[in-house]
């Protein structure tokens, strides 16, 4: 490993109105290293990389040095010209443009091109996708891609820059294990070529798998930078959160009566012949490769997609749900996978975002919202999910990604649904919060709620779920009771599709 200093940060601080996101950070990135940046939600990781990318201006007083020479970026283009390429946590892609352009356009700008050479752009994009072992139609509009593919496109975009520093802000949050492996292979190759990589992830196994050094941030402060060998998972967590956290393995418990029954649900081009039963007090895992159609099934139950045929029964009564409103009224809640576009009311406050599902219950008999009730309610949920900073009137845009996710969770937990469907609920959530969320889901199940948990993170599925369904290409490929499930079996079913549905209880 090269020990040569490449990029140094001296006393970098960043203050947002009311929040000190970064406080005098001093760290360095060496040439040819993979450097992981970890910390709790809101620790300041994204802010730090935005500064490195020129997307945010640091407070006066701090410095960034590249090869010992001070630089300052007033615009992201200047950072790009200094050969720093980034994938952002919110992806920062163009939903209305094709995959080709999303991958190549910033490279074109960096080169100072004025004209578009479509053929050349196509081949550049093709190369980048090939590096990631990806086969996506280049002319597809980005908004027609699944979240996972969008994330891969964002990564491919960073790859086309002939960068010295590649920054990846939670690149794996919606990727499947396969895709993560492909990404890691690429990272190793790039590292061998002398590129430095700054990598943010909440998945600590990934951090240990790939990084040379690890920097821990806490509350905007630099806790320390360590060689990977100096740390183990437990130590790292305690550095991050200042206390110890155990990843709970939950026991399978007896479950109640059938709550939600899905029979032969079919929607052309989405999914086929979906049948399963969810019981009271059960957490049913729904896993599989990204693009297997899990989201579509969930949205069909939630009334967002109208199936062509098949029945859904809630407590034995057939439901004809044609809108999300009806689903919600029937007691079904769905937490979507795409936080930015489907979950958040950007431009509104945390309080607004938290209270939207419970508004009617916060009003008095004249239909006027009672401020005192609202305050109590919001305060309670901020505390319960420890959303930080705990400012109800702060715009949701200004919260860190993880805290935004907590807000979305809170609004549905508060609704006290009968059936709760969570689609990749712990995306971008730190270990501490993640185990809190697991705990919460378990508690809810214990209260008799039926939960469907869509997740691509197998350890999580194995830890929390009572029963696991595996989907493959729009169909249920296998079903495992908790005791019988292993990562290998699930992966096998997800990729190859074991027809044997075991234990149909």
């Amino acid at each position: 490993m090269a020990e040569e200093r490449f990029l140094q940060m001296e006393d970098l601080s960043k203050t947002y109105p009311g929040v000190k996101a970064l406080d005098k950070i001093n760290m360095e990135i060496r040439a040819g290293e993979v450097h992981a940046l970890v910390g709790e939600n809101g620790a300041g990781k994204s802010t730090l990389i935005k500064i490195l990318a020129g997307a945010e201006i640091p407070d006066p007083g701090g410095r960034i040095l590249i090869d010992g020479e001070p630089v300052s970026f007033a615009h992201p283009l200047e950072a790009l010209r200094r050969r720093i390429a980034v994938t952002y946590q919110d992806l920062s892609l163009f939903p209305n443009l094709s995959v080709v352009e999303n991958i190549t356009i910033s490279r074109k700008i960096e080169e100072g091109a004025r004209h578009i050479d479509w053929r050349e752009m196509r081949s550049t994009a093709q190369d980048a996708l090939a590096k990631l072992d990806l086969d996506i139609d280049l002319t597809t509009r980005l908004s027609d891609l699944s979240l996972a593919n969008q994330q891969l496109v964002a990564i491919a975009r960073a790859l086309v820059h002939d960068a010295r520093l590649l920054i990846l802000d939670e690149p794996t949050s919606s990727l499947s294990a396969e895709e993560v492996n492909a990404l890691f292979r690429v990272i190793s190759t790039l590292k061998a070529q002398g590129m430095s990589i700054l990598f943010i992830s909440h998945k600590l196994d990934e951090v240990f798998a790939i990084s040379d050094r690890i920097t821990v941030l806490r509350d905007g402060q630099h806790v320390g930078t360590y060689l990977r060998e100096e740390l183990d998972e437990e130590k790292l967590i305690s550095l991050m959160v200042g206390r110890k956290i155990r990843f709970m393995q939950y026991e399978k418990r007896s479950v109640g009566k059938p709550l939600l029954e899905v029979k032969h649900l079919h929607k052309k081009g989405n999914f086929a012949d979906i049948s399963f039963t969810l019981h009271q007090g059960e957490i049913l895992g729904l896993t599989g490769l990204v693009g297997a159609g899990r989201t579509e099934v969930a949205q069909a139950i939630f009334g967002r997609i109208i199936p062509d045929s098949g029945q859904i029964y809630l407590r034995g009564k057939e439901m004809k749900i044609t809108s999300t409103t009806q689903a919600v009224q029937a007691g079904i809640a769905y937490i979507p996978e795409s936080r930015q576009t489907q979950g958040l009311f950007l431009g509104k406050t945390l309080a607004d975002n938290l209270s939207v599902t419970r508004l009617d219950s916060l009003a008095n008999q004249f239909g006027i919202i009672r401020i005192d009730l609202l305050k109590d309610y919001v305060g309670k949920w901020i505390q319960r999910l420890s959303i930080r900073p705990p400012y109800p009137k702060m715009l949701i845009d200004q919260f860190s990604g993880g805290n935004q996710q907590k807000a979305i969770l809170a609004k549905w937990l508060a609704y006290e649904p009968t059936v709760l469907i969570v689609d990749e609920p712990t995306n971008g959530i730190d270990v501490g919060a993640k185990s809190e969320i697991h705990q919460l889901l378990r508690e809810l199940a214990d209260q008799g709620i039926g939960i469907i948990m869509i997740s691509s993170e197998l350890p999580e599925v194995l830890a929390v779920c009572d029963r696991i369904l595996v989907m493959r290409r729009g169909r249920v490929a296998a079903e495992f009771p908790k005791d019988d499930a292993t990562q290998e079996k699930i992966m096998n079913a997800a990729i190859l599709g074991g027809d044997a549905r075991q234990d149909v209880s």
């Binding site: 109105p17 979507p336 009311f345 406050t349 939207v356 006027i368």
Partner: protein, 333 residues
């Protein structure tokens, strides 16, 4: 953070304009007569602006608002002028006329709402189409002429005062209060803002956005109708272009009042103050005998200036706030 800074600043602007007008023309501008006149003039415009605002809050726009006003007014005018329902008593025909205005408005609003919410067409296109349609129907009904000659008693709505406060002003205040409470104090109002902020997230939050949008367009049309009630009385007649000059002005008032044109945020109070600002500029400069074109220019300049001020002060504010936090942090540290 959300706050009322924009509204304070608008109040400041209003105060400054009032002061300037008072200095330039103390005897006339501040005369009771002029104050009353302004109080008679403002309501119809104010109500239309509120109707425009609620649609803009959902990220839409209602270009048919004044045409709807005119059409509803014309329907009522047929009754008031005795062209249809001959022989009804005066009280009856007034009650009926107002009923007809409201019912017509609701129907017109339902049409807009249906096409926007249930079919999913962009509001600007829908309302451009319905504007043309409503004008066409008005034209067809009236052949371009004015329907006039209403019973004296109907003048009350637009021309009388109660303890010195003009009736239209009272109507406006009531409507503004109702709108304020509905939008800013009830679950329904919050849903309106949420739909404007992110319709997809609203759907995923179980909000029936179709119904909310439908209601919003009906509300907007109702406002247009109520403005029609006042205009009908003040102008003693109904015609296809009744109030047409309020269309773009109402958009201007809404954005001047701080409502985000993309939807999701905006306050009733801001719109009301903006309406007052436009009223004072218009009346004040008229009294000074300023050429109407110059008044237009000044109004346009003020619109841009206020928004510029807003943005500059926002930038300064956030800079000051960050400085403060630094200080606090350093003191702590």
């Amino acid at each position: 953070m959300e706050n009322n800074k924009k509204e304070y600043m608008l109040c400041g602007v209003l105060a400054i304009i009032v002061i300037i007008m008072s200095i330039l023309s103390p005897d006339r501008f501040l005369s009771l007569y002029n104050l009353q006149t302004m109080a008679f003039q403002l309501p119809e415009f104010g109500i239309i602006a509120l109707g425009m605002m609620i649609v803009i809050l959902t990220g839409g726009i209602n270009l048919s608002i004044t045409s709807g006003s005119a059409l509803a007014g014309i329907m009522a005018a047929f009754i008031l002028s005795g062209r249809v329902m001959v022989g009804a008593s005066i009280g009856m025909s007034i009650a009926l006329a107002i009923g007809v205005i409201l019912v017509t408005s609701v129907l017109l609003g339902l049409l807009n709402g249906f096409v926007v919410a249930y079919i999913g067409v962009t509001p600007i296109l829908v309302t451009l189409g319905s504007k043309t349609l409503y004008e066409g129907i008005s034209m067809w009904l009236t052949k371009g002429g004015a329907i006039s000659n209403f019973p004296e008693a109907y003048y009350w709505f637009g021309n009388e005062s109660i303890i010195g406060i003009p009736v239209p002003m009272i109507i406006f205040i009531i409507i503004a209060l109702i709108t304020y409470v509905l939008l800013e104090k009830t679950p329904w109002g919050t849903r309106v803002y949420m739909v404007g902020s992110n319709p997809t997230a609203a759907v995923f939050s179980g909000i029936n956005i179709k119904r909310v949008l439908m209601q919003v367009y009906v509300y907007s049309a109702l406002m247009a109708g109520l403005a029609g009630v006042i205009m009908l009385s003040r102008y003693n007649s109904a015609k296809v272009d009744l109030g047409s000059s309020y269309l773009l002005q109402s958009v201007a008032a809404v954005v001047l009042g701080g409502t985000n044109i993309a939807g999701g945020s905006g306050k009733v109070f801001g719109t009301v103050i903006a309406v007052a600002i436009l009223q004072v500029i218009s009346s004040g400069l008229n009294i000074l005998g300023v050429n109407r074109f110059i008044i237009d220019m000044i109004t346009g300049a003020i619109l841009i200036a206020v928004l510029t001020l807003n943005i500059i002060s926002n930038r300064r504010e956030s800079r000051r706030k960050s400085d403060e936090t630094v200080l606090v942090a350093e003191n702590r540290g």
